[in-house]
Subunit: 209 residues, 2 copies
Amino acid sequence: MLFYDCATAPSPRRARMFIAEKGLEIETRQISLADGAQLSPDFLAINPRATVPVLVTEGGQVLTENIAIAAYLEALHPEPPLMGSDPEEKAAVLMWNAIAETQGAQPVAEALRNGNPRMKGRALPGPTDYEQIPALAERGMQRVAAFFDLLEARLQDSPFLALERFTLADITAFVFVDFARVIRARIPEGNLATLTWFENVKARPSAAL
Amino acid sequence: MLFYDCATAPSPRRARMFIAEKGLEIETRQISLADGAQLSPDFLAINPRATVPVLVTEGGQVLTENIAIAAYLEALHPEPPLMGSDPEEKAAVLMWNAIAETQGAQPVAEALRNGNPRMKGRALPGPTDYEQIPALAERGMQRVAAFFDLLEARLQDSPFLALERFTLADITAFVFVDFARVIRARIPEGNLATLTWFENVKARPSAAL
C-alpha cells in the first residue's frame, strides 16, 4: 500500500491517526500542499481531485476520501474496532463522524480558506481556483462557535463522541478542533467536558504523529 | 422503527430510496419543511439539529444522518447489498458517496439556499438562521457544472458510480442530480453516459417514491 500524506494539513492527519491507531505501518509519501504539489501533473494523475489523503491499496485501488480509507482499513484489520462492532455502534460512529465533518471540519475550513490572505484564490481544495468569499469566513467563525457548543453538550453525556470508547468520530473532531487554532478559535474555557476529552485524545500516541 | 421524512426534500429522499431498495416498510411521519415543522419544539426534542431524515431504531437510537441510517439498515438487512460486499467494494461505495455529497449535493444546496428568495435567512439547514451569501449561490452553480463533468467522466468507465451494480452512491448522486432542476441545472445534452445512468436509476421503483 502507499499513503499520500501532508504532514501539515488536517485532512490527511485524520487518515494518519487512523492508520496509527490500527498499528499499521504503510509506506508514505509527502505531498507538500504549501508548494502546490497536489496540483502537479504526477499527483493529478493519481487523484484528479487534487486532495490528500490518498491511499493506494495493494490491489491498486485509489482511495481519495477519509471515510473510504478508514472503512477499507477497518474491514481488512478489524482490531481494534474504530468504526463500531454492531449495527447500533456502526451507525453511531458514522453519524458522529458526519456531524463532526459538516458542523466542525467544514466551518473551520471555510473560515480559514475564505479569510486568510495566503489562501487567496484557493477558497476550496481541488484543481479549480475559487475566489474567497469574506462572508463565508465570517459565517465559518460563527459556526465553529456553535460546534464547540454541540461538542460540549454531547461530551457532557459521553466520554467520547460516538461511543463509550475512542472511535473514528473522535479523530475527525479532534483534528479539526486542534486545527481551529489557525483561525484563532479555541475550546471555550468553561467547556470542561470538551477540554477533558481533548486532552485525553491528545495524549494518544497517534495524535503526536 | 420510526422514519421522519419530508416528501418534497432531497435529503430524506436518499433514506426513503435506501429503505425501498431494501424492501423494508417502516412507519413514517412527514415533517413539512415548507411549514417549518422541523423547527417545532416537538421535533427539536427528537433532533436538535432540525434536519430530516431521522430514523428512530427499535432500541430507541436516534439516527440523524443519511450515512448512519444507511449503515444501520445495511448491517441489519445485508440483502441486497447497497454498500459493498468486501473491503474494496465497501471503500468504493463510501468514497463515491462522499464525492457525490461534497461535489454534488453540497453545491446544489448552496446554489438553492443562497440564491432563492424563498430561502432568505435559511442559507443553511438547522436551528440557526443564516443570511444568504449571493457569491456562494454563484459558486454553487459553477460547481454543479463541474460535478456534471465529474459524473460523466466516471460513468463513461462504469455503469454505476461506485461499482458495476447500483449502490448507495448512486442514490446520493441521483437524488441531487434530479433535485438540481430547482436551480435550473440539468445534465448537459452531450453527457450520454450520465443521461443513460440517470434514466436507469429513475426507472427503479424506489425512485418513484
